[in-house]
């Protein structure tokens, strides 16, 4: 692992570090090494920029410095019965506020109310010219100026070093439980997912996980305790097959494990791919074409994204995967990949390159953070 070159404790020190470096990449908790290990670049560790600076439960807003552990934020919110509805990934692994925003990745729970982009209200960051820039506002609604908070979502440390972020939060559902159908064929599972999704029951999470005996469909429902059983039954009726219900700890630990990637082998490269129920088949074909139909994977958040654990022994085939994804018009973000393959965290089909170039030119004219 690359040594840390800078550990600023204030935005002013970030400015100093950025100004003095030719190439520099921010690192949060270091949980997504594929995203911050860049050859020849200084590593700027933001972990000293930690702490919740303002939490107003009655405003549904929380503000934290970028190096704050998401685990700390979640614990504070939980004490008030609130949560981050985008369901951040790798919280226990040490994900930070800034790292989560820069990676722009969401967990299964993003299905219900939206992703990180929908819950980020304000940001402060240091751009490539060493300027401290503020965007958005610390209120739940705002349309003034360009939406810089959204621009920073998924920016992978290439547009600026985040120093502070404000999120909108929501009340946590009073209770949750999960329905599971095991061992389905993929087509069958997608069809069943569509049926439940089109029904009236509002769903927190809907994931399909590739297991030994086919695909497991998992549907999480949350809300007022009083109504939960009736709603679970309603959803189960739509599934029309053998259903297991998980509640209490079993329910909670299932989804906790899912967002920590407990199902992926520790040395695998973990990829995230945006897609839809209609394009999941295209990913399956890509994998089959590369003789990789066996790899561990999940379709998550109502089949709006896939997580694929690409095996360590097939690292040499990542370029082939890149080409096949491009052909299938699919895009992947390497959340974790071997350090030597990591200079380009995005694989496959890209859009908006021309616009992104212009934005990079504006915020980081000298290319200090590198280009995506």
């Amino acid at each position: 692992m690359t040594a840390v070159d800078h550990r600023p404790a204030s935005a002013a020190e970030v400015v100093e570090a950025v100004g003095g470096a030719e190439r520099i990449v921010p690192r949060g908790g270091g949980t997504k090494p594929a995203l911050w290990s860049v050859d020849g670049a200084d590593v700027l560790d933001v972990s000293a920029l930690g702490g919740i600076t303002e939490y107003l439960p009655s405003e549904y807003t929380v503000t934290a410095l970028a190096g704050t552990l998401l685990a700390e934020v979640e614990a504070r919110l939980a004490a008030e019965g609130q949560y981050l509805p985008f369901d951040p990934l790798l919280v226990a692994a040490g994900s930070t506020v800034g790292g989560a925003v820069a990676a722009g990745a969401n967990g299964p729970g993003r299905l219900r109310y939206g992703g990180l982009r929908d819950f980020l209200l304000a940001v402060t960051f240091v751009d490539g010219r060493g300027e401290i820039v503020r965007g958005g506002a610390k209120v739940v609604k705002n349309a003034a100026g360009f939406d810089l908070p959204k621009l920073m979502v998924g920016s992978l440390g290439r547009l600026g070093v985040l120093t502070e972020c404000t999120f909108k939060v929501f009340p946590h559902p009073e209770s949750c439980a999960t329905l599971r159908v095991a061992g389905m064929a993929l087509d069958e599972a997608i069809e069943a997912a569509g049926r439940v999704g089109a029904g009236a029951v509002e769903i927190e999470c809907l994931d399909l996980v590739h297991g030994l005996a086919g695909w497991d469909l998992e549907i999480r429902i949350g809300g007022r305790s009083f109504a939960l059983d009736a709603r679970l039954k309603r959803a189960a009726d739509l599934l029309d097959t053998d259903v297991i219900t998980l509640s209490g700890d079993a329910d909670a630990s299932l989804w906790r494990t899912r967002r920590e990637f407990g199902w992926a082998s520790p040395d695998a490269s973990v990829l995230k791919l945006p897609l839809t129920p209609a394009t999941a088949g295209a990913l399956e074909q890509v994998l089959a074409g590369l003789d990789a139909s066996h790899v561990a994977r999940a379709y998550s958040a109502g089949i709006q994204q896939a997580f694929v654990a690409w095996p360590a022994e097939r690292v040499a085939d990542l370029p082939a995967l890149d080409r096949a994804l491009t052909g299938a018009k699919l895009t992947a973000l390497a959340l974790r990949a071997p350090a030597n393959a990591a200079n380009q965290p995005i694989l496959g089909y890209r859009t908006g390159g021309e616009l992104l170039c212009r934005v990079e030119q504006a915020l980081d004219p000298a290319g200090r953070f590198g280009r995506l």
Partner: protein, 485 residues
């Protein structure tokens, strides 16, 4: 531009679109000289009526080649002067680009042209049990393109968000005529959120020509509660109590006495005329859940001691309640020859303080202010009533409007929740943001549009302003920031 070049430019537009779809001259263009902020007018060089995305691209390229500023215009309902023509520029009227290209019930997406009217999307989605969630009060006329430019909202944006939260993918003509695709049809993305950056950019980054929208399943049921209070503050406290209870309503709106009176006179919504504050709270979702939540909601609201409560008895009753709220702007217009709508946001817990101060400011200026607002998200809509024919009233109204914006900034909020900065609030953007913040935005604008052709003069405080026509001097004029023809 030299006269000969100007003539060449118009010739080129006419060759591309035909003479019928290139309007010039005062009379044909009169309808395009202002938007819903009627205090501003400006005369464009030409108005072009485009029929296809290809025509938008060609018009933008002609403008870029001739260095002529341009802007897209949807239905011209902007309340901030956003669709005010750029003086001597080209207005690209998008209304004919109004096809719904696809509704996909499996993906739950709609692909639309930008001139499609907001409500038409929900109508097209209805056969599949789906709808398009953002619901500006102007939804029966305003376009998706205009919604996108301002990140428009509505009463029902508390739970599922504003326009930005519902736009998945875009085809965009950049100001130099380059065509790009951003986003896609998934809720998820990879890389910087360029769709998020484009939405809310007020037309300064170019023109969207194709838009992929997210659709939601129609809520199975609603529970709509009307509660009347003898003070505005009491209604505000009820909102705080609902928030604290952990409930997440689909909408939470408040109207004051003047707004109630106006809405009653206009549509007869059945509102109690003597209420000082009227709260509308609506739960939406699946039956069992709403049933469980409504019991809690009633308990919480009753504790706030409204003197009257009414639960919508059926869908018609519910529509009537909403019709009153949604017609409030135009209804208040009946009380007064002219009005300005402000759109500031304050932290929810400071709503009461903000309303009291607004009331006092109104009294100080001798101007009536009606209030309807999205209480759930702290988005105020003070309606400042004046008579433009009375010497000095416009100026006093605008002065009051400015003081209200400063109040919102001071309380830690925003100058606009959904109507955009446009022309109207340009000078306040620099009070809300610091110089470095504005500079970053300016650099992005200039990197995307170095010649500042797209909607020139809007949003930025120091941007070269369009010349304006008619009416008394605007404060910006008095300050020498803008001038009129």
């Amino acid at each position: 531009m030299a006269t000969a070049d100007a003539a060449d430019f118009l010739d080129a537009l006419t060759r591309r679109l035909g003479p019928d779809r290139v309007l010039t001259g005062a009379a044909p263009m009169a309808a395009y000289e202002s938007d819903a902020l009627t205090a501003f007018r400006a005369r464009p060089r030409a108005v072009v009526l485009v029929d296809s995305a290809e025509e938008v691209v060609d018009v933008v390229r002609l403008c870029a080649a001739a260095n002529v500023p341009f802007l897209a215009r949807g239905s011209g309902t902007s309340l901030s002067g956003g669709s005010l023509p750029v003086h001597d520029g080209v207005v690209i009227a998008m209304n004919r680009l109004n096809r719904i290209l696809e509704v996909d019930p499996v993906r739950r997406t709609a692909v639309v042209e930008p001139g499609v009217v907001n409500l038409a999307v929900s109508d097209a989605a209805a056969p599949y049990g789906l709808y398009y969630s953002p619901d500006p009060s102007s939804q029966s006329v305003c376009t998706i393109g205009g919604n996108l430019a301002f990140n428009s909202g509505g009463a029902h944006c508390l739970k599922y968000g504003m326009t930005s939260n519902h736009v998945l993918g875009l085809e965009v003509v950049l100001p130099d005529g380059e065509v790009i695709e951003i986003g896609g049809d998934s809720l998820e993305g990879v890389g910087p959120d360029l769709v998020g950056l484009f939405v809310g950019s007020e037309g300064l980054f170019g023109i969207a020509t194709r838009i992929t929208l997210r659709l939601l399943p129609k809520p199975e049921t609603y529970f709509t509660l009307l509660a009347a209070y003898d003070s505005l503050a009491a209604a505000g406290e009820a909102v705080a109590a609902v928030v604290a209870s952990g409930l997440l309503p689909g909408a939470m709106e408040i109207m004051d006495n003047l707004a109630i009176e106006a809405a009653e006179a206009a549509v007869g919504a059945g509102y109690p005329l003597d209420a000082e504050g009227l709260l509308i709270v609506e739960l939406e979702g699946e039956k069992q859940q709403v049933a469980a939540e409504s019991a809690l909601l009633l308990e919480v609201v009753r504790r706030s001691k409204p003197y009257l409560e009414h639960i919508a008895s059926d869908p018609d009753d519910r529509m009537r309640i909403w019709k009153g709220r949604k017609s409030a702007f135009s209804a208040v217009g009946r009380l007064s020859p002219d009005y300005i709508v402000q759109d500031g946001v304050v932290p929810r817990s400071r709503l009461g303080e903000a309303l009291t101060k607004i009331q006092r400011l109104g009294e100080e200026h001798g101007i009536r202010v009606a209030n309807v607002f999205h209480a759930g998200d702290g988005n105020l809509h003070p309606l400042i009533l004046f008579d433009g024919r009375v010497e000095g009233e416009l100026e006093r109204a605008e002065e009051l409007a400015g003081e209200i914006l400063r109040l919102c900034i001071d309380l830690g909020g925003s100058i606009t929740g959904e109507h955009g900065v446009g022309m109207e609030k340009r000078q306040y953007l620099g009070e809300m943001f610091g110089e470095a913040d504005l500079d970053a935005m300016r650099r992005i604008r200039l990197a995307i549009d170095p010649a500042e052709l797209a909607n020139r003069g809007k949003m930025f405080p120091d941007a070269e302003a369009p010349a304006l026509l008619s009416h008394g001097p605007h404060p910006l004029e008095a300050a020498g920031v803008i001038s009129r023809e």
